[in-house]
């Protein structure tokens, strides 16, 4: 039973990380342009979470398809050419609104964990998508 619960817990953590990883990738690219490996290094800095390095590539591909990042191949003096990514204007706008939403959600969760009351500022609307069967 404990094993099942542990697996469920692991799944939830994985889902949570996956959801937030895209925002983390955008956050890193908001600060600076990166190629895949440097992006992974910035996301997995000491004290940070561990991720499989390959998981950033599907995210970058998706952001690219959505027009939120653009990429360029740049020759490297240390090895093969690197594919650099940077946020487009649309990507920067999308990141800013996602980050604001994320902060509201964090306040909501932290509030629920504390005194049980959401900490959203007055008038702020927190939208939570619910499944139909809930």
């Amino acid at each position: 039973m404990n094993k099942i619960m542990a697996e469920e817990s692991d799944n939830k953590v994985t889902q949570l990380r996956k959801g937030i990883l895209e925002l983390a990738v955008m956050a890193a690219l908001f600060q600076d342009r990166h190629y895949g490996y440097s992006l992974v290094r910035s996301l997995t800095a000491p004290g940070s979470v561990e991720i499989k390095e390959g998981t950033v590539y599907p995210i970058l591909a998706r952001l690219s398809r959505e027009g939120l990042v653009r990429s360029d191949w740049v020759e490297s003096s240390q090895g093969p050419p690197r594919k650099y990514y940077e946020l487009t204007a649309a990507g920067r706008g999308a990141y800013e609104s996602l980050q604001a939403e994320f902060r509201r959600l964090v306040r909501l969760v932290e509030g629920a964990a504390g005194d049980g009351k959401p900490q959203a500022a007055a008038g702020e609307k927190i939208q939570i998508r619910r499944k139909k069967d809930e």
Binding site: E22, Y37, S76, Q78, P80
Partner: protein
């Protein structure tokens, strides 16, 4: 600047990239090469930044840190079953994903029974489909051969009929013109054979679709049992 891995590491990386390429089917060649170049570049930096152990250890560690090829090329993280179908942009994949989500997810064991039944039906359909295709090809070529003989030496059939004392070979309205019957037979039978070949060729898509459906079904069954026989909720 040397952009190459040492020989032993090169082989390990090349094997990995081959596996990765297998997951890129459906993508155009240029995009495939770009993905492979990007991942190779990543592995090179990861390998170069790891100074411990021999080159094989370093290459294997770089691959382990990167993850499985399927995870690297997955077009979305945390894809649900139905969304995986949409990713493939194929009606069959979407249908398969939807079936599993609709039946297997909310209904648990009962739903899995429906899915297993559907899978069995699909297998029967597939067998029937390929049997028909093969029959078309074989009968098409045999009839084409008969038609060809009727064109080249039409007397053979008339002679056989005479020797037999009855009409073994009937050419209907072309009884006295077996060459005309031969030409018609050749055309129709070649069309039949072509249809059979077309069915065999297009069958590979059906086969891939069915394989995908099976994988989804098996994943659902596996997840059901690893959850201790509790119904599966949510996709």
């Amino acid at each position: 600047m040397n952009n190459h891995f040492p020989p032993a590491a090169e082989k390990i990386v090349a094997d990995y990239l081959e596996k990765l390429k297998a997951h890129l089917k459906g993508m155009n060649e240029k995009d495939q090469q770009e993905v492979l170049a990007e991942i190779r570049s990543h592995l090179f930096e990861s390998f170069a930044g790891d100074g411990e152990g021999d080159e094989i250890d370093r290459a294997l560690r770089a691959l382990k840190r990167l993850g499985e090829p399927a995870d690297v090329v997955s077009s979305r993280v945390g894809a649900s079953v139905a969304q995986m179908g949409r990713k493939k942009k194929s009606l069959l994949y979407i249908l398969a994903g939807s079936l599993v989500v609709l039946f297997a997810a909310p209904l648990g064991m009962g739903g899995l029974g429906v899915v297993v039944g559907l899978l069995a039906g699909l297998v029967a359909l597939l067998i029937g489909y390929f049997a028909t295709a093969v029959a078309f090809v074989v009968s098409g070529f045999v009839c084409a051969l008969v038609g060809l003989v009727a064109i080249v030496s039409p007397d053979i059939f008339l002679d056989i009929n005479r020797w037999a004392g009855e009409t073994v070979f009937q050419f209907g309205p072309f009884q006295n013109h077996p060459q005309v019957a031969g030409i018609l037979t050749l055309i129709i039978s070649l069309m039949l054979a072509a249809l059979g070949l077309l069915m065999l060729w297009s069958g590979k898509f059906i086969w891939r679709g069915l394989r995908y459906v099976f994988r989804l079904g098996l994943d659902k069954v596996r997840s059901l049992f690893t959850r201790g026989h509790h119904p599966v909720h949510g996709a």
